[in-house]
Amino acid sequence: MKTKYLMSMGTLSRKDNSLDFKNEKGHNYIPITEIREIYLMNEISLNTKLLSFLSQNNIIVHYFDYYGFYRGTFFPKEHYISGKLLLKQINAYENKGILIAKKIVLAISINIYNTLYHYYRHGNNEIYDYLNYLKDDCKNKIEKSKTINNLLAVEGEIWQLFYKNIKYIINQNIDFSRRVKRPPDNPMNAMISFGNSLLYTKTITQIYHTHLNQSISYLHELSKSRFSLSLDLSEAFKPIIVFKTIFDLINNKKINLKEHFNKKVNYCVLNEKGKEIFLINFEKRLDNKFDHKSLKRKISYNSAIKYDGYKLIKFLLEEKDFMFFNDKEKK
């Protein structure tokens, strides 16, 4: 167990060398050694004694509000620091930023392609044009982009067309025509928002265990967040982790549009049961292991996120060419 989700209201504190989560039902002790990150998904009280204990043990805490909106991250003192790499990261920002950013957008397009191709093979012919676009047009546009703004426009187009094609992938009738973020206006947008935030926080945790500085990013604006690099590195995994989870939940009727959402006039969010279902399936997908071609070892998608960080380090330190995560890494 590396990730702990606390879903109910309560108090989290230190008890000797364990964590003690106290809620309505009583005390729940969690040995510290089994934990890498904690998600507070509800109103939970804690004190500074706990925070320093967590910090000593390099445990990251992500907190979400009751509605499932990401609120922030408690980040322990960094345990891997390399001045040399930091300089390289900054240097690359000035000289090779666009190159790295292109690799991110390319990875998005490849991973969407691979995710959707599965559906095309099973008879969803309507997405043919989009698949073609991803293969040719989009690739050219990425190549030809001269500035980050050009590139962001291509990225925007990829997602916009992707959202338009979602209706051909899912077998339930969801009114989903466009991406609305704050606040999400229908179940699809609610799940995308929740899933993307989760993936982003998962990436923060993984990058924490590398020497990369989280505030230096290449595709997203530096000032976008304290963890802009995690915004960058989570992109490639969105199709594989977030959207595959969503399609599975809908198409296999694991989630019920009537029962698992809170709908009001101007917003729609997952309710408690909905969040739980989403989290279980999301975690399962991240924990899924596959044979890695060059490592000759079984690795999980969750580790693959960290390894994308390693690839970036290798590129910065050794100028080794690389590609962010894609299906070719699987055996």
Binding site: S82, L85, K296, I313, E318
Partner: protein, 163 residues
């Protein structure tokens, strides 16, 4: 960068590992072999707490009236372990502590003895100086290329090197 025992050990084991460690790129060991090694160390040898001694930038497993003792999990890389220990002997000697080194392996595969005694003499002391000079040059230069060796699969840099 100050040379330490680990660097000496890595220098013999793998130049790339030595470079990465010296440049402070230490990565998590996915298989947690490092932890297992540490735990073993603690259980098997260091039942008493704090028996490890730190002097400057070296940490010694055990110091007796006659010996500096270094415990190793296995005898897979004797040469590396030997020079690491010689380095400790040299640092201690500079502080006026003259000792003989003893290497103790928990598992023996390569050779029949569980214990090896090493002595610091003129010859290997000069050789050690040479090694330290080489290490200093190595870590200032470019990172050495990946070369698959027996220890790679257990190395904390494995994923980094072979991705």
């Amino acid at each position: 960068m100050d040379i330490n025992g680990t660097l000496i050990n890595y220098y013999f084991h793998c130049k790339r590992q030595c470079w990465l460690h010296a440049n402070r790129i230490n990565l998590e060991n996915e298989f947690e072999l490092v932890d297992i090694g540490k735990a073993m160390h603690e259980i098997k040898f260091n039942n008493k707490k704090n028996s490890e001694i730190k002097i400057d930038n070296i940490s010694i497993d055990k110091l007796t009236n006659d010996y500096v003792i270094e415990y190793k999990k296995s005898d897979a890389d004797i040469e590396a372990a030997k020079w690491q220990l010689l380095f400790y002997l040299k640092v201690l000697k500079e502080k006026g502590i003259d000792r003989t080194g003893k290497l103790i392996f928990a598992e023996k595969n390569k050779q029949s003895k569980k214990t090896i005694v090493v002595k610091l003499d003129k010859e290997n002391e000069n050789e050690l100086l040479n090694i330290m000079k080489n290490i200093n040059e190595l870590i200032k230069g470019d990172i050495p290329e990946v070369k698959l060796i027996k220890g790679c699969k257990k190395c904390a840099f494995y994923e980094y090197c072979f991705l």
